[in-house]
């Protein structure tokens, strides 16, 4: 693979960019692979990447029913942070965040990780206490955060109304090295690197069945025929329930719509990511200038990638109150994704009832930020057959034991 660089661009410019190679190949599936990963979202691709990079396993196929990165990875609001309360969460999200720091260089693909800072506003006394608790936890977890004053909030984000009559801003939990990344590029960068390692990314190919013998997976049936494998990983987010059913088990997961919207682009006016959980909305400004906005999920199961408009209304209402100037901006586009929400709102990285089948799902409304960490931990689980330190707390067994990883306890935080 030819490397990307400013020099390469200059070289190509001279020949009108006729010489660029394909970013990833479009192979015909082989008969068998060591590992098949279902789902070419960020998590599936990162899992493949670290299988190759950390364990030298490259006889891998990533099977995608649509176009790679077209699931939630391609439709999320790209917030990256690791200021979680519970230790297992902080461990995996901080691992992910630190991998984001060098992702562009690691992949030789600019994913535009922008550590511009994430603030979570505290607008009730209860939230103040919750975020202070998180700040304490983070200090011990090695996650750099601080609880900041309303004055600092206003300084970092001048367009916020900190003295709103209904929910004045009482402070915020601030993670200076949180931020955003270019979501599509994360999928594309991993895909290019995987393809370069000789892995097969097979798009437009739906897994329709999982063949098994003696409690082990032997392969998958797909819309492009049967493919055998020695190990199988299901990394299909909103469709994990559908796939688990085909494999013969049920998950503690429900699939619901989560929506987002963007405004028309304007000149930079907001250099940080702001989340306001009391009023339920969050916002950042993309490098192209749109305000990227997200809110809450629908309460009912849904596979349409469309949500109900009243959630958009609630979110916009909250943000107009928090950022009065956006009242005169316009909503350009709204969309939805199908997120997989677990019983304790934390993800699942786990072995399954089938010996050589592993599952990675349940990232729900907040798994974009986890992509590299999750891929790292998942690759380890697949390669060794047992979860390592990062993945272990996220096993399916926790639901039986009552050993939940409940992040909502501090302040009902999503994303």
């Amino acid at each position: 693979m030819k490397r990307y660089s400013a020099f390469a661009i200059a070289r190509e410019a001279v020949r009108y960019h006729q010489g660029w190679e394909r970013a990833w190949a479009s192979p015909v599936p082989k008969k068998e692979y060591d590992v098949i990963i279902v789902g070419a979202g960020g998590h599936g691709l990162a899992t493949a990447f670290y299988l190759g990079k950390n364990f030298g396993i490259t006889n891998v196929a990533i099977i995608e029913k649509g176009w790679l990165g077209g699931g939630n990875t391609g439709r999320n609001t790209t917030i990256i942070r690791s200021n979680y309360l519970q230790d297992p969460s902080a461990a995996i999200y901080e691992k992910a965040r630190s991998l984001y720091e060098t992702m562009s260089q690691d992949l030789n693909y600019n994913v535009m990780f922008s550590p511009r800072g994430v603030m979570m506003l505290a607008q009730t006394e209860h939230e103040v206490r919750g975020y202070k608790r998180t700040a304490h936890a983070n200090a011990l977890q090695g996650v750099k955060t601080e609880f900041i004053t309303p004055g600092k909030v206003k300084y970092l984000c001048p367009i916020i109304e900190v003295n709103g009559p209904r929910f004045p801003v009482l402070g915020a939990l601030w993670q200076a090295r949180g931020g955003t990344a270019r979501h599509d590029a994360v999928a594309w960068g991993y895909a290019r690197a995987c393809s370069d390692m000789g892995m097969d990314i097979i798009q437009q190919c739906e897994v329709t069945g999982i063949t098994q013998a003696k409690g082990q997976v032997t392969g998958v049936e797909t819309s492009k025929g049967a493919i055998k494998c020695k190990k199988l990983a299901m990394v299909v987010a909103g469709h994990c329930g559908v796939l688990a059913e085909k494999a013969g088990f049920r998950l503690p997961v429900e699939s619901v719509a989560l929506q987002a919207l963007v405004s028309e682009p304007i000149k930079p006016c907001m250099d940080v990511v702001v989340m306001a959980n009391t009023v339920h909305g969050y916002m950042s400004q993309s490098d192209k200038g749109e305000m990227v906005i997200g809110g809450g999920t629908d309460g009912f199961n849904n596979y349409t990638q469309r949500g109900s408009f009243h959630h958009i209304e609630e979110t916009v209402r909250a943000l107009v109150e928090t950022f009065p100037m956006i009242s005169r901006l316009k909503m350009l586009r709204q969309w939805g994704g199908i997120v997989d929400v677990t019983g304790d709102r934390s993800p699942i990285l786990s072995k399954t009832p089938l010996g050589n089948c592993f599952i990675n799902c349940g990232w729900g409304t907040g798994g974009f930020k986890a992509i590299p960490g999750s891929g790292w931990a998942m690759a380890e689980t697949i390669a060794k057959g047992e979860p390592g330190a990062l993945a272990a707390p996220f096993g399916l067994d926790r639901f039986k034991e009552g050993r939940f990883i409940d992040e909502s306890v501090a302040a009902g935080v999503a994303h």
């Binding site: 661009i9 608790r133 304490h136 028309e264 109900s308 209402r317 005169r328 330190a389």
Partner: protein, 1004 residues
């Protein structure tokens, strides 16, 4: 030069001149103008700069699809960025500024010269700016961001207001062209409720411009008559300036009405968002003209042929003196003819088709207009304005045959039906190869709640480009919709339209057909985002083959026009690059809104005091008048403390506590939940709901109870009073009343529906006022009316009667450890009772106290607080509340859950008291205790945490409660709490009851 013609302009009123400002200049237009037509009339061709390359941009279109002419409109609190000049109606005093250019529109240093653009093809930023690592955030990103973005951010809070409006209708028709009017008329005749919306100020759409004849007269007369008929029908509502913005599931439609954008001086809301429930929807949204892809097609002066005709016909404006027409279909000849008739010069019609012999070309020929068939535009010349075109053969690669001087080019690549609204909610499309367009597939419509189609498409939007068949189709759509909505439409009496017959279009996706890469790099698809033909081909070459990948890699169609002009051309190029059929490539997903809509409208009237309702207790106003510092609790506001003159918050809390402990305090506890549970099975039901046994409670008695979720976690607590054999009154936390009431009803309705139990939430029926402190009894005795003695009303009992003449129920319960009465009175008399307590209590030193004093006093007593000691992961056993968990009951909610291995784990952290070694140190809220070890993940091992921490004025030292691993077994041990500042606070593990452990103060 673009200019106002001497005559013409069907929708302007030349008698009414309007002054406005553009880019600092004072200009004039007429009533009826849009900002776009008025700018053209003033020879303002250069209106903006493109997104990426800052190239000069002028008007392309005349309607909502305009990608270039975006302006900053208005000033100050009424400034709005990215306003389309084409949809802005001119009004007196309008002020507009160009965008995305610095220092000026004419001289923009952001503009990249032609050489540089070569270095910035699609996706270049993914391939560079990676080294050194920190440079992205600090160097590259700021530069890119500064260049990107369009209009300026508004600075001030919006001065306007907005509102919502709901309506239910049988048939909703979107689009007020002749098709929409015909559909509405037919649907209306069936008796169905009909709502017709049109996004612009004017009805009739393109038919007026095209000179269509209907029922023997001109289109205008038919339109006016039809509108009149519709307006006279009681069951029909017609709204203009109202955009059909989005179609959602189950017949939900969003419409966006612009009420005062064109008359900003008028009072009232600026926009109104309509939330519509329609049984059936008809979209009659017409078609949009496509540009042609030739080099230089973005130079100001290159416009859509239909738009050029619109400006001439509707506004009497010419876009240039010499207008070259470029086309692949007959419709553009109408523009040529219109311009010719207006006295302008059409040097040549460049028609890519091998021949052009239809009615319209013949008419043009007869007028003496030169028609070059089989020809193409090789390149447009000019920088900030067209100066000429060079011609070539369409079949070739672009060798120039001839240069033609001109000052504008009118192009037409054919028409695309507006299928957006059909597609928002899942309607599918077919590719009509003959007409080169995507059309709605009537067999795969978006479906409603009943699984049947909920949308019909009418007229041009359905792919019927000629007026006659459009009208026939629209009438049928109106009738079909009415029928599907449950009405019986009469047989149609479709109006007959006549327009010139048109010869078939020749799909032309590239002009000339063999245009090489150099031309491709100058051929624009997406004008606003600067996406060129070469970019799409590059994306395909690099493997971004899915149309969705191409879109995201090149940003094609992601600009503010959402690809209304560019999408079809772009995907045709992609299909060609992949050597695939157009339908196989498919379209990108259509998403609402059809046109951007204001955030203000989406938020509606819910601003400031209407933002989110504050619940107010009957005593709220007293606090407002007496210095309360408010704290939100659920949706309520409760006073955190009530400051006296000159006092700070901390001192106020201290005073309130000491006064309550020494004299008597008054607390508004009205927000506490109060739920009546009544019926023969009420006891049995509460036994399932609470961890304690409630069925054994005797009438007249109170008992503190705990509720857990089915998952075992403590979710609410409160005192239950048994009013009589059948009736219990359950108190809940302030935040919990609605939730717990709903939770009770959930179990009663969906699990134990055989139980004979009724509930009612009486939270708001009563004001509840706590009189607390050693002198509480004296205050009540002074109020008089009820025996509140120790004997008649002992601890954990209640009594009914009157106090100070007000009906009251007095509970002897205490959350402070003091002698305490909570008195429930009818809410309407709550304020009166409060005032009387203050009056009667004056001699005893009564003082109201707030939630913080309440919290401190309960912590001094070691009482838990839901939300402090609990957080959704805590079981009662963690809080040593085993005494409140019945061992006798076979079942209660949470019981099974609490038997799981993790819940019975002896290592669970348990509640203890914590005393800092230095009494002046107050442990920080939420601090964790560590044992000095570190986990393999690098995380320091924690062994406990602070759940509540206060300075206690009663004890004059700090106190805290917390959960500690093996805590109760480690009494007296000292553990370390690191602070976020890096210090360590040492605290001793003690019993959590800090004050009056024997309960002597409350049992008096």
């Amino acid at each position: 030069m673009s200019t106002r013609l001497q005559t013409g302009g069907t929708i302007i009123d030349r008698g009414q001149q309007i002054e406005f400002r553009w880019n600092g200049k004072r200009l004039r237009g007429f009533s009826g103008d849009t900002l776009a037509s008025a700018l053209l009339a003033n020879n303002q061709m250069l209106l903006g700069r493109s997104f990426k390359y800052h190239r000069p941009r002028g008007l392309v279109a005349s309607g909502a699809e305009e990608p270039n002419a975006l302006v900053g409109l208005g000033e100050g609190a009424r400034f709005e960025p990215n306003q389309r000049a084409t949809t802005t109606e001119l009004f007196s005093g309008l002020t507009a500024q160009p965008q995305n250019a610095w220092p000026s529109l004419e001289f923009d240093i952001g503009a990249l010269n032609k050489m540089m653009t070569r270095f910035f093809p699609a996706g270049f930023y993914y391939k560079t700016f990676m080294y050194p690592r920190a440079a992205w955030k600090h160097v590259f990103e700021p530069v890119i961001r500064k260049a990107a973005g369009l209009g300026a951010a508004p600075k001030d809070p919006d001065a306007d207001t907005y509102e919502h409006y709901h309506t239910h209708t049988d048939v909703m028709v979107i689009g007020g062209g002749i098709s929409g009017l015909a559909a509405a008329l037919e649907a209306g005749r069936s008796g169905a409720r009909v709502l017709l919306v049109e996004q612009t100020a004017n009805f009739g759409g393109r038919a007026i411009v095209d000179g269509v004849e209907i029922d023997g007269g001109d289109a205008e007369s038919w339109i006016n008559e039809t509108l009149k008929t519709l307006n006279e029908m009681d069951n029909v509502t017609v709204v203009n300036r109202c955009l059909g913005a989005g179609v959602y599931d189950h017949g939900y439609v969003l419409a966006y009405q612009r009420l005062t954008d064109h008359t900003p001086d008028k009072d009232g809301p600026r926009h109104r968002l309509w939330r519509i429930r329609a049984k059936q929807v008809v979209t009659a949204t017409g078609a949009l003209e496509r540009p042609l892809s030739f080099a230089g097609n973005d130079v100001p002066g290159v416009m859509l042929a239909g738009a050029v005709r619109d400006y001439a016909t509707l506004y009497g404006v010419s876009v240039g003196d010499r207008v070259v027409i470029a086309t692949n279909n007959d419709d553009a000849y109408r523009t040529a003819i219109t311009l010719h008739r207006a006295g302008l010069i059409v040097p040549v019609i460049v028609d890519a088709r091998p021949e052009a012999n239809g009615t319209l070309p013949e008419q043009a020929r007869a007028l003496g207009i030169r028609i070059d068939t089989g020809k193409a535009i090789a390149k447009v010349k000019g920088g900030k304005r067209v100066t000429g075109v060079s011609l070539c053969v369409q079949a070739g690669e672009g060798s120039v045959l001839e240069e033609v001087a001109c000052d504008a080019v009118a192009m037409s690549g054919g028409w695309s039906p507006v299928v957006h609204l059909w597609s928002h909610c899942g309607g599918k499309l077919n590719w009509d190869a003959e007409q080169a367009m995507f059309r709605p597939d009537p067999k795969r419509p978006p479906t409603g709640a009943d699984g049947n189609g909920m949308l019909h498409v009418a007229g041009t939007a359905n792919g019927y480009l000629d007026a006659a068949s459009a009208l026939a189709d629209a009438g049928q759509a109106g009738r079909d919709a009415a029928k599907d909505a449950g009405f019986k439409p009469a047989a149609g009496t479709a109006p007959k339209a006549v327009s010139e017959a048109e010869a078939p279009i020749l799909p032309v996706w590239s002009m000339p057909q063999g245009a090489g890469v150099k031309l491709q790099m100058k051929t624009f698809l997406d004008y606003q985002n600067d996406v060129k033909v070469s970019d799409v081909r590059l994306a395909a070459r690099e493997g971004y083959e899915s149309v969705e990948h191409t879109k995201r890699y090149t940003t094609l169609g992601m600009a503010t026009d959402q690809g209304k002009l560019s999408n079809i051309n772009g995907l045709a190029i992609l299909a060609d690059s992949l050597n695939a059929e157009i339908p196989r490539v498919g379209t990108t997903t259509f998403r609402p809104p059809y046109q951007p809509i204001s955030m203000g409208a989406i938020a509606g009237s819910a601003r400031a005091e209407l933002f989110k309702p504050v619940r107010k207790s009957p005593v709220h106003a007293w606090f407002e008048d007496n210095g309360a510092v408010w704290e939100p609790v659920g949706d309520w506001r409760r006073p955190y403390t009530i400051r006296q003159a000159g006092e700070n918050q901390k001192d106020a809390v201290k005073r309130e506590i000491l006064n309550t402990r020494q004299n008597v305090g008054l607390l508004d506890a009205s927000t506490l939940g109060k739920i009546i549970v009544k019926g023969p099975d009420a006891g049995k039901f509460l036994d399932l709901l609470y961890t304690n046994m409630m069925s054994t409670l005797k009438p007249g008695f109170c008992r503190y109870g705990l509720m857990c979720t089915e998952n075992g976690f403590l979710t609410d607590d409160g005192v239950v009073a048994r009013l009589d054999e059948d009736t219990f009154l359950c108190h809940t936390t302030s935040g919990g009343s609605d939730r717990i009431h709903a939770w009770m009803e959930d179990w009663l309705q969906t699990e134990w529906w055989d139980f004979k139990v009724y509930t009612a939430n009486l939270t708001e029926q009563y004001a509840q006022i706590a009189v607390v402190g050693p002198k509480a009894r004296q205050v009540l005795e002074k109020l008089g009316g009820m025996d509140v003695s120790k004997e008649s009303l002992p601890f954990m009992r209640f009594a009914e009667g009157t106090l100070a003449g007000i009906p009251a129920r007095a509970f002897r319960i205490s959350f402070s450890g003091e002698l305490s009465y909570e008195i429930a009175v009818p809410a309407s008399q709550g304020r009166a009772f409060w005032d009387k307590c203050l009056e009667a209590g004056a001699e005893f030193g009564i003082q109201p106290y707030g939630t913080e004093a309440l919290h401190v006093m309960r912590a001094e007593k070691g009482f838990i607080m839901i939300g402090d000691e609990t957080d959704g992961t805590i079981i009662p056993q963690d809080l040593n509340l085993n005494w409140a968990i019945s061992k006798k009951k076979a079942d209660f909610l949470g019981k099974r859950a609490q038997e799981r291995s993790h819940m019975t784990d002896p290592d669970r952290w348990k509640l203890v008291g914590l005393l800092t070694e230095n009494p002046a140190d107050v442990l920080p809220d939420g601090a964790y205790a560590v044992d000095g070890t570190t986990a393999p993940t690098g995380i320091k091992t924690t062994i406990g945490r602070v759940t509540s921490s206060y300075y206690s004025p009663t004890l004059d030292r700090s106190i805290a409660m917390g959960l500690v691993k093996h805590g109760p077994e480690r009494m007296g041990e000292v553990i370390d709490f690191p602070t976020t500042e890096g210090a360590v606070i040492k605290a001793k593990i003690v019993d959590p009851v800090f004050f009056d452990p024997e309960g002597e103060k409350q049992n008096v």
